[in-house]
Assembly symmetry: C2
Homo-oligomer: 444 residues x 2
């Protein structure tokens, strides 16, 4: 199988997982939605679990097999980029198409697909996990960027979630099935085609770095800017530990302080310059002078460093593997939650870096851990548990963008309560009465 599905998942203390990860009984590589449909019909009749597997880049174990059963590799489905409608800003892709492949293909059209989770994931897989990332603050997550999905359901029937062939910018026809399947993590059906929204590629881009004395100063600058309605394309936060890790890993020489990395998009330099009034806000919050990058090469260098934040954090501790958290809170609560989290890390003597899609209130703690060290992992899990509870008590969610997968199942109940989870389960039962679709994910 392609990709490297991370087989470790964050299991909070006390959580019971019905089964441990195992190899699937059989891996099938269908070449068409019709073949997927045939497989599903047979598996449904015989109640055989089916796990869809794309690029294997998810972080919450969504494509792990937990029971004996069939793994369907969706990348073998033929047909790549099926229809490109430039005037309508949309394109249809099959599961084998990744984010970077799509953007390469449409490079000369003046359009681009903005959702960027870092990994070069399958776009259909990004639909399944409701992926997000650095550009979401301006362009939205997958929830806002899918027009229609072709889905093979548990019984083998083929659904078009926004209607047959429909690709309008909006619709009020019936239930919003598209956004039910976006983020359903393979538990309701297998996505075999996605019609995605495209956006005008910015003609002008500028990237800047700004350092602050405190986390609160950095975050408050972001809140004030967003209040101005400035549509910044990316607002990424790195705490002093993450900056130090990136300096070391990516050969940068940034000041090792709470830092914002910003990207401005416009159709011309004037538009970008208008947005950059943000500089004044940062300055009034004690921010440093902006370090600008406007050349494509410099911009790519900076964002590559940001995308490599995970590996940079791992490199702080040789031989360690990574443990990542993913809470999201309202931005007004973000500074306090990050500050408390850093205090908790320091108190527990845990080495960790913090990065955040701060414009969305979403941040990750990246801990380089030795998984074999049971004592250490206990401390890590307890820290992660406190972090999720801190986020929930601040009107937040246990997962901003990685999904529930296997490890966050208990937190779904904490977040939604029994009624919310029961509503989700009743939908699951309605569409997959034999519970064959990716069983053990989202729900126990």
């Amino acid at each position: 199988l392609p990709g490297k599905q991370k087989m470790r998942v964050q299991v909070p203390p006390g959580a019971r997982i019905s089964s441990r990860p195992r190899l699937p009984s059989v891996i099938l590589k269908p070449t068409s939605a019709e073949q997927v449909s045939s497989v599903m019909r047979i598996c449904n009749e015989r109640k055989i679990p089916v796990v869809p597997y794309g690029t294997g880049t998810g972080l919450e174990g969504g494509s792990m097999s937990l029971k004996d059963g069939v793994c369907i590799s969706t990348l073998s489905i033929e047909g790549g980029i099926d229809e490109l409608n430039e005037a309508d800003f949309d394109v249809a892709v099959r599961p084998s198409v990744t984010r970077k492949q799509l953007n390469d293909y449409i490079r000369n059209t003046g359009l681009f697909f903005p959702v960027d989770p870092g990994a070069d994931a399958s776009l259909c897989g990004m639909c399944a996990t409701s992926a997000s990332g650095t550009n979401a603050v301006r362009y939205g997550t997958m929830k806002e960027n899918v027009r229609n999905l072709e889905v093979v359901l548990a019984d083998g029937s083929v659904l078009h979630t926004s209607g047959n062939g429909v690709r309008t910018r909006k619709s009020a026809a019936g239930y919003n099935l598209t956004n039910l399947f976006v983020g359903s993590e393979g538990t309701l059906g297998i996505i075999t085609k996605a019609v995605l929204k495209l956006h005008a590629r910015p003609q002008a881009r500028a990237v800047a770095i700004c350092h602050f004395n405190t986390v609160a100063d950095a975050v408050n600058s972001v809140v004030e800017t967003m209040q101005m309605g400035t549509p910044i394309a990316r607002i990424e936060f790195m705490d002093h530990v993450q900056v130090a890790a990136c300096n070391s890993y990516s050969k940068l020489s940034l000041a090792e302080q709470p830092t914002l990395a910003l990207e401005f998009h416009g159709q011309n330099d004037g538009e970008v310059a208008e947005q950059a009034k943000f500089v004044e806000i940062c300055s009034s919050n004690g921010g440093s002078a902006f370090e600008w990058a406007t050349e494509l090469e410099d911009i790519e260098k900076l964002w590559t460093a940001r995308h490599n934040a995970y590996y940079a954090a791992l490199a702080m501790r040789i031989g360690a593997s990574g443990f990542t958290t993913d809470v999201c809170v309202p931005i007004s609560r973000l500074a306090e939650v990050i500050v408390e989290t850093r205090r908790d890390l320091d108190k527990m003597n845990l080495r960790a870096a913090i990065v955040g899609h701060v414009g969305d209130g979403n941040f990750h703690v990246i801990l380089p851990v030795f998984e074999g060290d049971e004592e250490e992992m206990k401390v890590v899990y307890a820290f992660s548990d406190r972090l999720v509870r801190r986020a929930l008590s601040a009107c937040g969610t246990c997962t901003g963008e990685h999904g529930i997968g296997v490890g966050k199942i208990p937190y779904l109940l904490d977040e939604f309560g029994p009624i919310g989870v029961e509503v989700m389960k009743s939908i699951k039962r309605a569409l997959d009465p034999n519970n064959i679709m990716n069983p053990g994910k989202i729900f126990a």
Copy 2:
């Protein structure tokens, strides 16, 4: 009951509606979600139909009673604007709060709520119908502007669709229940509270009118502009008949040609001026010189005329009532569909005006009709039927923003096919097994 629920609905020829509109057996005015919950528990046990009723401003009969049963007036629920979080750009409202009331309340905060369907509807009702309107091209529809909903389900339990108290900008936790309930037209539960996204109020606004020789010239100007990524706030189309009607009704003196009315938003005059490069594109498509309005009074006058388009069209024929269509197509197909529709109208000798949210590909034909004239209504229904089929064959939908309600039920099947409708029905059965929630809407 407040408001004026339009009791006429567009029923295509051959459609069977199980029951005709009637008065509800009883109208209840609960003062809290708990009271709604008590009512639902009793009605569910006794299988009594429940129809939620807000401001009664929907256009597809969504709050009509079709069977003997209970009508719940949601406006009596106490508590208006519950929580305003300026830094997070969100606010919680109870069903009695209308769009205009909210915007008046937050006038001094620098924020506003952009979704504007014309009518001063209940915001919770706008969630139920997935309302949209003139600002959607920049700010999205209700689908993109709701953070969380409190919903009383058929069995009386109270659901928080994005989790208890969660109001983050994004989340990947479980199924997207919020967007399942947005647009569910009261068939899955009664919305008793909504947490809405707010946006930065534009500091600078400009409105312009531009006339074109042909519909295609006007629409092509829009397509080219959107390709530039220019975030125009409103792009409204009126055909020559609609302009003439508005001239007469609202005492304007616009050239009676295919016309675009545009609004640009920015945080300063410079930003607005950047957007107005659109002028060149219109000019290259044969558009007239722009007639600008920048004073608030002139802006309001123009949009009031646009919002009164419906009444202006009715006034073309004294004593007539209105029949409105609502198709939406990809913008690349919009010009051909409008041109064919106008040809059809002229061929059938039907007096009608065309207005459109052209940036979204959504347009309405407003026909002043004499409902008592059976022969005329046959012609009107046949025209409406051809229009929907024309839209569906152009990758479009039968309803861009008004919903399915009662009259468009057969078209939902045409649009989604039996599998799509069956998936929706299975969700309906899962959440409302006794079919008491607004029965006869969306599905027969």
